[in-house]
Structures are given as structure tokens and as C-alpha cells.
Subunit: 385 residues, 2 copies
């Protein structure tokens, strides 16, 4: 049910030929209320796609009636024509739904530079077709329509005390969210005001999508949107709601990691006993972005020297010669020297645990990444062809 | 002739079994004077190998009598035993040469974590054997003894007005120098004091090795050392000497790039019309470290969207929607939109030129990198086996 699991939401996913495969490529999610609360976080990449530029304006009043999403073209670096396309997309949906265009968000994903007249015509056609197909059971269709190189649709639902959160996500590459991630739509029937929705969303994305760094490449089109319909009539306990929202975001982040292009290992990097959480994140991210470490994991090689070489490039507080490194439960390095033999580490499972103990404080963080594989290179050298 | 091309230097390269292949693995370069001037720059990685820690102390007085280099083991994260090994290496060479141990530098390269009793015994044996083999014609042997995954020895010689500069380098992976690069030894018979040598060396490495970023991974063992013997009796013109030194460093940087592990393209990223040189370097480096761009080049795909997505993550001064991107002479993007069709770009040659015109100022910089290939992944997943 995904985004239509909570009460008050209709959705649809239709195929209009943006994808050469003929698979669904335009999704529409509509909030039927009574509340029309929205919050969103966007890529921190300065190179922003036209739908991002549109949506950043549209979200300012905290009101969202609907969101249109398309795959098969990013509408990024497509000039003023591309911005007009995003604008017309919102207007088209608003006219059909009888709402204000400024309350319709737009998301696009696909190849950068794609957004010509043909693209525009298909997207507008998709708005019409998806509006005609709207249904309280349309969540699964919508989740399929936003897929690009994803091998599976990513969805998540969590039920609270009288309220529900539902969500869908797409993303398989260019996965290094800056304040958001790929395209994510989260819905809830809880009663929230827009400031509370915004605070919950930022708190949840900070410790979930922001801690996913599959390939160090930040997208131009990332957007995470939360819509609240209030249809349950229940104002949730703030702590319980935030916790449930984090669960949904973390679940989607793991699904994104598990479906990352070409990956053969899902690597969970746990940094413990850092002085600050920021230090822990910086150290974890330096490992997640180290190609030599990622290639070693692909080769089932517990090359802990590459971990230390990576974290040595950070400004975090620690002594490189007093760090412990564990791989899949085996301490391979202690106090700046070798510990248990490499042969003791079994890296054949897809799930890979790296633990780095900085031994200076009480803060910790977990960063999720993937290995660097032949298939990653292959898929990303052939993407636009 | 490499490091023995200038007058006043002897060198040797010998095999002592540090490499499983039986190839030469210990090099010694000795300055016979009359001057014993030395300058060095080191990796800015906080995770530093033991020979780096030793050499950073030894260089402080600006006097260098000799340098010992070994391949087949990095002596990094090998604890206090490893530091003692570096110390004993310098003492052994000093005793044989009749100089102070504090004037002998040590460099190591190979697998991090390698540096046990067997390693120490072989290195010390290598010092003895190479000292016995010292010769004014030993430069080529030394250049071969420092190779690891290098497919060719890297050397460079430039002649000035009455003086000569010679050099050798090794490096094929973990190539993202922070203030230095892999192992480089540069010799000259010019008359220089140590402050002048240091200034020339820093100026030259800043625009050569520091602009090479093959895989974004900074080594723990990088060191570039300049030794001046004064044997020519000629005090060089400062501008001419610095220019020649830059030529030598740039020549070696290109050789390192051309021999980078698994690479199939040598990519020259030229950033023009930046507001500052720092901005140009930041923008160039963001592209050089973008795996999606590098994989696209491997696939001969002129995917300029990935260039814009990469530079959008920087803090440099420019408008992402007013940038021109050229690939091998074809302008594929102008003012935030597509220009000439992708099909016009021929990316089949190994030499690849990317030009990014930021259109805001007069500063520029060139960053050299490589593509991301199947072979890179293969070589780096199997390195330690």
C-alpha cells in the first residue's frame, strides 16, 4: 500500500513512454485531507534540477496538496524551458485537482540533460492519465512508476497508536544524499502542523538517508517529502512519531543500499567512541568514499590498512596509532598495529560489518555504503546508452 | 641515469627478497657533496608510516647525506617495532657511509601492516648490499628497486645552465597526494641552500604532484625528497631552476598518471575562468573524484551531466547554470543546457581533455586523473593476495 497505507491519500502510477521499456514512469500522490501539511528536504548539491527549484518554492508555505513524480528524465540542466516544464506540470495537476499550482510539488529522475518538447508532452500526458487513475489502493503503482535502475520497488509502512506512516523510495546510484536522498514520498494520517512535520522530517533524514553513502556521488534531483493528511484525527506523541519516522527512513535507506547498482556487499560502518557525532560521521564517510577499501571488500580482502589510510585524511579527533578495527567481528588491528590474522575474517556474506573504535569519547554513528565492483563500473559506464 | 645524472650522486638498487618476484627491492641514493642540502615534503595523511615519522625528524636541519628506499612493505601501522626498524635502517646506512644517522632519510612502500622481524632483517641486509653496489651509474637500478605495481620505472632529467636535475618516482595506486606524492627522489648538482631548496620543492610539488588525483586515495607513505650536491659549482638562476624543477615534477606526475592501476584514459581536467586558483583546484578535484564521471569516461560516454553534478557539490564561486563544458574539443554543455550532441565527442583515445569554463574570473588550474575501470577494481581487490 505504501503511500496510500495512511488514510487520506490517493495515488497512481502510469506509463506514458518516458521509459523506453514501456514500464510505468509517472506517479501522482494526492492528499485528500482534511489537513494539507507538507515538509520537504532537498539535495544540497548547488546543481539543482528544475523540479527541485520549483518544489523549493512551493514548499515554503508548508502546504502540499499533491506531488507529481516522473522517471525517464531528470529535467536537470535543461534551461528555462525545463523550468517551464516543471511549472506546467504543477499547473496541469492543480487544474485537474482544483487546487493551487503552488501547492503541487514536482520530482524527476533519470538522465541529466533530458527535458525537451517530447519529454514535456509525455509528462503532461502522464499527469492527466495518473489523475484519472487515482485510487486509495494506488500506492504500489506509484512506487513502481518512480523506479529507474532500481531492481525492486522500495516501500515501507509503520503503524503507530491510531496513525500510520507509509512511504516509497527510488534510488540505486548517485547515492550520497546531502540533506536528502533520491526520491522519497512519505505520507501519514497523523495530525501535524507544518513546523512539526518539518522538524520531524529533518531529524529523521539526518540519521538515515544522510548516513547512506553508496558511491560518494550527490544527485541533482534528491527530494524527500512528508505529507500529513490528519485523516486519523490523532495527534501523535512526538517521541513515538519521530521514532516511527526514523524507522521508516532507515528501512528505506537499507533498501536503497541493498539495491545499489552493481554492489555485492552492503557495508555497515560503525564508528564508536568518537569525541562528537560529527567526528564519527566524518570518519565513517571517509571510509565509505575510499575506492581502495571498497574494492578490497569486493575481493573479500580484509585490508584494514586502507581503513586507517582513509580515516587519516579526516580532521576528527583521535590518535591514528590508538585505533581498533574490527571486520565481521574479528579485531584485525589494535593500537596502530596488526592483531588477529586476515585469514580469520570471512567476508563472503553480502552483509559486511566494519567497526572502528576511535577510543576518545562516547559519540558514535553508523554509515552505510557498498563495495566497488566490476558491475558498478559496468552499469555506470553504460547508463546513458 | 635518473638520480645519478647530476654530479655528486651515487646510487644502487638490489634484490633481497622483500618482493616475492625476486625483483630489486632496496634502493640507496648517496650525496657525495660538497653540499649536503636536503628538502622534503610528506603526505598530509595523519596516518603516517614509520619511515615518514623518521624522515620528518631527520629533514629538520636541512641536511641529507643519503636516502634508503624499499618496496615490498610499507612499514606502516607496525607499531614501535616498525619505528625501530626505520631507525635501525638509517643507523645501518650511516655507519657504513660514515655519516650521522639523523642525516639519512628512509622511505618504504608496499602493503600497510607489513614490517615484522623478517622484513627488518631483509631491509638491513638491503642497506648493506646496496651500499656495496653504489655507483655513479646506479640511478636506473635504484629506479627499478622502488617499483611496486608500477609497470615501468619513472625517471626524468632536465639540464640547466651548468647544472642538472635528475629524478625517479614510483606510484601506480593510492594516488591523491596531499602535499607530496608516492616516493620521489630528485637530485641536483646546483648550489642551493636548504631554505631555497625547500621553497623550490614546495612550489614545484604544489602545481604538479598535488594536482594529480588518480583515485582520491591518499597514501600513508608519500614522500618527495630533493637533494643538492653543489658539485657543479653553479648557483642557478632562481626562476630558471624552479621552472626546470616544475618540468621534472610535472613529467613524473604525467608518468604516474599514465601508469595508474587499471586505467584506460588519462584525463586532463582544465578549469578556466575561476575566481581564484583554489576554486579552480576544488572544482577540478571534485570531478577527478566522481566515480560516476570516471566510469562514464571508461565507457567512452560524454556524460556531462555528471560533471555538473560533481562541481555542484563544491563551495567555489560560480553559477552552475552559466558553465560551459568541453570534452575533447566539443562544447557539450553551455549556460546550463545541452549544446553539441554527445555523438560528436570521440572518447576512444587514451588522452582525454575536459575543459570546464566557470565564466567568473581569470584563474585556472589543471588536475590530472584517470577513469574508473574493471581493471582498477580487479587490481585493487586482489592487491594483498
Amino acid at each position: 500500500m505504501t503511500v496510500t497505507a495512511p488514510a487520506g491519500f490517493d495515488a497512481a502510477g502510469v506509463a506514458v513512454g518516458l521509459k523506453s521499456t514501456g514500464k510505468p514512469d509517472v506517479a501522482l500522490v494526492v492528499n485528500r485531507g482534511p489537513l494539507k501539511v507538507g515538509a520537504a528536504v532537498f539535495t544540497s548539491n548547488r546543481a539543482k534540477a528544475n523540479p527541485i527549484i520549483w518544489s523549493q518554492q512551493a514548499i515554503k508555505d508548508g502546504v502540499v496538496e499533491a506531488i507529481v513524480l516522473n522517471s525517464g528524465g531528470a529535467n536537470c540542466f535543461t534551461g528555462s524551458f525545463g523550468f517551464q516544464t516543471a511549472h506546467q506540470t504543477a499547473e496541469k495537476a492543480a487544474t485537474i485537482l482544483g487546487v493551487s499550482p503552488g501547492d503541487v510539488l514536482v520530482c524527476s529522475t533519470g538522465l541529466i540533460g533530458t527535458g525537451d518538447e517530447v519529454f514535456r508532452a509525455k509528462v503532461l500526458q502522464g499527469v492527466e492519465a495518473s489523475a484519472a487513475a487515482l485510487s486509495p489502493e494506488g500506492g504500489q503503482d506509484a512506487a513502481h512508476a518512480i523506479m529507474t535502475t532500481d531492481s525492486v520497488a522500495k516501500t515501507s509502512v509503520v503503524a503507530g497508536e491510531g496513525w500510520t506512516i507509509g512511504a516509497m523510495a527510488k534510488g540505486a546510484g548517485m547515492l550520497a544524499p546531502g540533506l536528502a536522498t533520491m526520491l522519497v514520498v512519505i505520507t501519514t494520517d497523523a495530525v501535524l502542523d507544518s513546523a512539526t512535520a518539518d522538524a520531524h522530517l529533518r531529524a529523521a533524514t539526518r540519521v538515515s538517508f544522510d548516513r547512506l553513502d553508496s558511491d560518494g556521488c550527490m544527485s541533482t534531483n534528491d527530494q524527500v517529502t512528508l505529507m500529513a493528511s490528519g485523516a486519523s484525527g490523532v495527534t501523535p506523541d512526538a517521541v513515538a512519531f519521530r521514532s516511527a519516522l526514523i524507522d521508516v527512513c532507515d528501512d528505506l535507506a537499507r533498501q536503497l543500499q541493498g539495491d545499489a547498482e552493481g554492489a555485492s556487499h552492503d557495508i555497515t560502518i560503525r564508528v564508536e567512541h568518537a569525541l562528537t557525532e560529527d567526528d564519527a560521521v566524518e570518519v565513517g564517510r571517509s571510509i565509505a568514499r575510499n575506492n581502495l577499501f571498497k574494492a578490497a571488500i569486493f575481493g573479500n580482502d580484509p585490508n584494514w590498512g586502507r581503513v586507517l589510510a582513509a580515516i587519516g585524511t579526516t580532521q576528527a579527533e583521535f590518535d591514528p596509532y590508538d585505533v581498533d578495527v574490527w571486520m565481521n567481528g574479528v579485531r584485525v588491528c589494535t593500537a596502530g598495529g596488526p592483531d588477529r590474522p586476515r585469514e580469520d575474517v570471512d567476508l563472503t556474506p553480502r552483509a559486511t560489518d566494519l567497526l572502528v573504535d576511535l577510543r576518545v569519547g562516547d559519540a558514535s554513528a553508523t554509515i552505510r555504503t557498498n563495495d566497488l565492483t566490476h558491475d558498478y563500473v559496468h552499469e555506470n559506464s553504460a547508463y546513458s546508452s
